[in-house]
Symmetry: C2
DNA sequence: GCCAAAGTTCAGAAATTTCTGAAGTCTCCG
DNA sequence: CGGAGACTTCAGAAATTTCTGAACTTTGGC
């Protein structure tokens, strides 16, 4: 349980997050939020920790704020403090919703641009059916999560 | 419903797929599979259609085969024929499973590398809980899809 | 108000990903 | 077998993404 091990684990997590679609710096920053043993953290601390420029960390923080994974705290002292939001993981997953919607939209555009009865039309119909189903299920799934969590 | 419109819609879909994590060429290739008005298609046709080299199409096909989105058909004539798999969308979604597993694994590694009672340990515990929940729900969700589809 | 610390932005450098073209391999037909 | 067409692979070019460093802006204390 050495320091070294801990930050190795953090970097490994960052890698997984990157594959999951986050930008590299945002992923590494998020990992710092997870693994740092204080309640809140400042930008300078993150930059020092990652050995990165404050510029890139600023960008990463902005991205994470936009997605809603972290929040800026009512600033106590001089510098801004940030922390991971409680429901960060649910939020990250919810982001999938917009991807699903985009897929559904794309399928419908395709259906409209395709002659009925042809193979393309049928395939796009299948696609629409699946994403319509998914779009219906995801909210219920998150609701089940919140329910379970409340206990 | 002109040809032009149709392929515009295809390229737009490719863009969405790219944002969803597919490589650019694989995404464009998949779009061709969706929008082409024949049951099967050959590599040369795809390359010509996309105005891309057969080399890149070969790579894209390989990737799509690996993920399981398309299949090589028992070759009728000389060239290989491919087609989109019936359950392509479910397969694409199932791929999320491995991402979820990787996240869960990363969380558990982090928990092991972190001192119990500290904020980091707690945060990683939350993360593990969420992804454990998700990993439990996804199979059931897909099962519901297959059930609904059977009707 | 003025200063200093903290944060933001952005142009260009660096790193990474992606694509092509050409050489190599495989397969099937004659 | 030999040849031709189809496919694969891979080194290097092209395009894109990502990061840095420095100039600029904002904020809060004095």
């Amino acid at each position: 349980m050495s320091e070294q091990e801990r930050w190795q684990a953090a970097e490994r997590l960052a890698l997984v997050l990157t594959e999951g679609g986050l930008q590299r710096m945002a992923a590494r920053t998020l990992a710092v939020f997870l693994f740092t043993n204080t309640e809140t953290i400042t930008m300078g601390e993150i930059a020092e920790h990652l050995g990165a420029s404050v510029g890139s960390v600023s960008g990463a923080i902005k991205a994470l704020l936009t997605v809603g994974l972290i929040e800026r705290l009512p600033t106590p002292g001089r510098r801004e403090h940030y922390r991971l939001r409680d429901d960060a993981w649910a939020i990250l997953f919810t982001g999938q919703n917009t991807v699903v919607q985009a897929m559904l939209q794309a399928a419908e555009t395709g259906i409209a641009a395709t002659t009925p009865g042809g193979p393309a039309h049928r395939r796009l119909g299948d696609m629409r059916d699946f994403y319509t189903f998914l779009l219906g299920e995801l909210p219920a799934l998150l609701q089940r999560w919140h329910q379970q969590r409340a206990t």
